[in-house]
Subunit: 134 residues, 3 copies
């Protein structure tokens, strides 16, 4: 079972919680036990799982990435001004895979699925959720 | 087929081999060919695959993370002293997916599955292994 | 359905597009909808998904990794001169999981699957592709 949705982003670097949307797709799939894969179809965005209760954690993740991978000093910047966005996306990666049990994502108490925007704002970022019966 | 187990950790930063435990779950599953997903249900721990024959490699990975992501200088540290643990967990990620063939994990000779503890010691870190028939 | 292939590499650090080979395996599998997992069976190589249209992006990713994780200053270097290769592989990770629809990888327009060589040249790097029906 596969479902694709899009979201829009409003900043150059931004981490957006998509947990509720993915949970809804898992519930609607009718799959009781198995795996859920989340994949973002862009080379300057990524999927991360971490805490969102204190939103400062997302800002800290972006501060760290911005410090280690500064903007404007890479080869690809001569073609397009977003080399740092590509490098950040390569480090975090476009997908996560999560166990499903009793039709629910088996996340820990402090884990949320989030989209990392590294080259926004964008009107449409596409995410595909695939659920496999175990 | 899904199995959850817990392990305890004894240091703040520690990389612990869980390969034998995961192999045992794969063997017991009876699945001959498919995929095995390992997922840790915490926002300050991660799963990594690398060499464990020379244990210095695990220390080197932690040295690098400690150097790039030092403790105590992030926003979330004003709420809780573990912002660096969250950032390290976000970089390494909570899961890995490995092919299964002939009821065995298809790892390379130098690859082991390991839990990364970034905010220990903890009495209980929960890991879920899901095996999918291919 | 599972398929293993090997490629040779020609430089110490090199990012090589394997997208066409993986696409071919997906087509031959006959699986219409599901997941495709790509796994490299080495502790000094990794799988990354990013842009390959401008090859400078791959050079930028390697420049960043070489800057943050320099060669020759780690504990494992006293045994073997490739500690940095192991650390880079741990950061990028050995696998990626991609949705399949209509017998095609559901990659974005600018996404390619690539092998990261961090300790080449090597005559044989082994990659296993597993396709699971959804």
């Amino acid at each position: 079972m596969q479902h694709t949705f899009t979201i829009n982003t409003s900043q150059r670097m931004e981490i957006i919680d998509i947990n509720r949307k993915v949970e809804e797709i898992v519930t609607n799939s009718g799959v009781k036990e198995g795996l859920c894969s989340i994949f973002v179809q862009h080379a300057t965005a990524a999927i991360v799982i971490n805490e969102n209760y204190d939103p400062n954690i997302c800002l800290d993740i972006n501060d760290m990435l911005a410090k280690l991978i500064p903007q404007g000093k890479w080869r690809h910047d001569q073609v397009d001004g977003n080399a740092d966005s590509h490098i950040k996306a390569a480090i975090i990666g476009p997908s996560e895979t999560i166990p499903v049990k009793n039709s629910k994502l088996q996340l820990g108490r402090w884990q949320s699925i989030m989209l990392c925007e590294f080259d926004g704002p964008r009107s449409e970022r596409t995410i595909t959720v695939t659920i496999i019966k175990g």
